[in-house]
């Protein structure tokens, strides 16, 4: 059963068409890679899915609700991690969890339980009282991801979550993503690292506001006769 359903999504800014008739769906529990060159329209589409922006036309259903007039319902059921690191540096780890749990309306007992769960998974329980600004970037990224799923959303949107992070941390980050997907949370991720695209269940590649390819990484490699996704991406970008 699809958890995200997009039909004929069009988004125009004046005469500029940012999203040109997108149609795709994401299944529950899937890791869906949303790829495309800069300016291809990824961010615009993602904003619409998160209820931050209204589509010009077309139907967008997220977690069973229509984003154009039920965005409040959608927002309760999704988590979001932006490409810029986005927790508060001048709050401690615990205060960040408490704050974000609070804005999703979690009761404080639930926040405590989720925080120790998530920190335990990252092995960062001893850093609970530390100010976030004093932690290395890799840790912060993992914490930001944990915060994005503190309210156990149906879907988590990750906008280039691993930008500027070293390969080992990236690897660990993807392990956490897998774990999350195994718990039944759908992961919708954009990335510029093509090796990361290989980890996804399915990927779509956007160019000029359109989705030009959508399939499993393995099928795409066969279709485009390529050794890896990077080659697929370059072939699409050049054509």
């Amino acid at each position: 059963m699809p958890i995200i359903e997009v039909q004929n999504l069009v988004k125009k800014f004046g005469s500029f068409v940012a999203n040109d008739n997108l149609t795709f769906s994401v299944d529950a529990g899937e890791i869906y890679g949303f790829l495309g060159a800069n300016g291809a329209g990824k961010t615009t589409a993602m904003k619409i899915l998160c209820g931050l922006s209204a589509p010009t036309s077309g139907k967008v259903m997220v977690a069973g609700y229509d984003v154009s007039h039920q965005s409040e319902m959608v927002k309760k059921r999704i988590g979001y991690m932006s490409q810029r690191f986005s927790l508060f540096d001048d709050l401690s780890v615990w205060e960040n969890f408490q704050f974000f749990g609070g804005i999703y309306g979690l009761p404080s007992a639930k926040i405590k339980q989720r925080t120790s769960e998530l920190l335990g998974r990252l092995g960062l329980e001893s850093e609970k009282k530390q100010l976030l600004g004093s932690l290395p970037l890799g840790w912060k990224q993992k914490l930001a991801f944990s915060v994005a799923i503190i309210h156990e959303p149906y879907i988590v949107f990750l906008d280039e979550p691993t930008g500027g992070v070293d390969p080992i941390t990236r690897r660990q980050f993807w392990e956490i993503i897998y774990e999350t997907a195994n718990q039944g949370i759908t992961v919708f991720v954009t990335t510029h690292y093509m090796d990361e695209a290989e980890y996804c269940n399915r990927i779509s590649i956007m160019a000029d506001g359109k989705i030009v390819a959508l399939d499993t990484p393995a099928n795409l490699k066969i279709k485009y006769n390529a050794a890896n996704i990077e080659e697929v991406f370059l072939k699409i970008a050049r054509s």
Partner: protein, 365 residues
């Protein structure tokens, strides 16, 4: 919502610069304006040339010298020496009584005092001349009382309400205005801009919180802090500078709250048009602070401005608030005298709120 406010307080209390702006500045400003920037003149050396030397001139002289503003410097013998003593800088002002002063006053009901001030320092000269004429006018009134004759003595309205001519009384309303403006407008616009710059605003917007809740969560702490500041300034000006609130304290606090909300909506508006903390800071500095200081009538009297600037000063919210504060604190007037100014500020508040709500919606699109 509660969590939001707590978080905002963490931001403020953990940022050294915010703390300085919020708590150091009010104290420093009030004390600076109260003491260092005082335009008051005390113990100015004067010379008196008394051609008459009768009981009236002696009475006026002793009244002048006992006022505390003047001390008698070396005597000057004749008008020929006036320029000489001015040149040496020994005296700031020379007061000359005409001959037969008392008898002139009795017979012709008028007598002349000539006041010559050293205008190389125009402010001081102006003040001294004002002090002198106020004191003389005061004497004249006493003198006329005994004769029960109709008198028409005009003094400047400033002195009517501020007989001690304390400059503190002129500055405190301006300082309150500037500080409230600065703290609320600048701090809110910067803190919202910071949230945008750090990318945390995006996360908040994706959350189920409504934009209005987010904004309210951001600004409520600043309302509380600015209000606490207004109270601090009033306490400081009362206990340190000896300036009482003559009118209703409650009305004063209510008007302050209204002005805080106005400054706040202005701050929100600034943050909706600026992309970064720097830009918010620059906008608040140049679009708010300078006009507040220069055009609100705080330092330069509005009546002295060229007409275009007078017109511009009408759209400066601080201008109206300064009038309100002066009316309540110095003149002790009630709400019926300041409802017009209050209405203007309330109108501006609504205008800025409407504008920022519109801007905020556009940005979300």
């Amino acid at each position: 919502m509660k969590g939001f406010i707590i978080k905002e307080f963490y931001h403020i209390f953990r940022d050294f610069r915010s703390m300085i702006v919020l708590f150091g500045m009010p104290v420093v400003q009030v004390l600076l304006f109260g003491f260092a920037l005082s335009t008051e003149v005390k113990n100015a050396p004067v010379a008196i040339i008394d051609h008459s030397n009768d009981q009236v001139t002696r009475a006026i002289t002793s009244k002048l010298l006992s006022s505390g503003f003047f001390i008698l410097s070396d005597e000057v013998h004749g008008e020929d020496h006036i320029e000489e003593v001015f040149r040496h800088g020994k005296v700031k002002e020379v007061i000359i009584f005409e001959s037969n002063f008392a008898s002139n006053l009795e017979k012709d009901r008028q007598a002349a005092i000539q006041v010559i001030a050293d205008a190389s320092d125009p402010n001081t000269a102006n003040l001294l001349v004002n002090y002198t004429s106020a004191i003389v006018a005061d004497y004249q009134q006493e003198y006329m009382k005994g004769l029960s004759l109709p008198v028409a003595i005009t003094t400047e309205s400033q002195m009517m309400y501020n007989p001690a001519l304390k400059s503190v009384f002129m500055f405190v309303p301006g300082v309150i205005t500037i500080l409230l403006m600065l703290i609320t407008a600048m701090m809110t616009s910067i803190s919202i801009a910071r949230e945008k710059e750090m990318g945390t605003m995006e996360i908040l917007l994706v959350s189920p919180m409504r934009p209005m809740q987010i904004i309210a969560g951001k600004v409520i702490p600043y309302v509380l802090l600015a209000f606490a500041n207004a109270v601090t300034i009033l306490l400081l000006s009362y206990f340190v500078l000896g300036m009482p609130v003559k009118g209703s304290l409650l009305l004063m606090l209510a008007e302050s709250l209204l002005f805080i909300v106005m400054a706040l909506s202005l701050g929100i508006f600034i943050s909706t048009v600026s992309k970064s903390q720097q830009m918010a800071m620059m906008l608040s500095m140049f679009a708010l602070m300078l006009p507040t200081i220069l055009l609100s009538g705080f330092i330069f009297p509005i009546e002295n401005m060229p007409l275009p600037l007078q017109l511009i000063s009408n759209i400066m919210p601080p201008r109206w608030f300064i009038i309100i504060v002066k009316s309540i604190m110095i003149k002790g007037l009630g709400f019926q005298y300041i409802w017009k100014e209050t209405l203007i500020i309330a109108g501006m508040t609504l205008f800025f709120i409407a504008l920022s709500v519109k801007k905020f919606k556009i940005r979300l699109e």
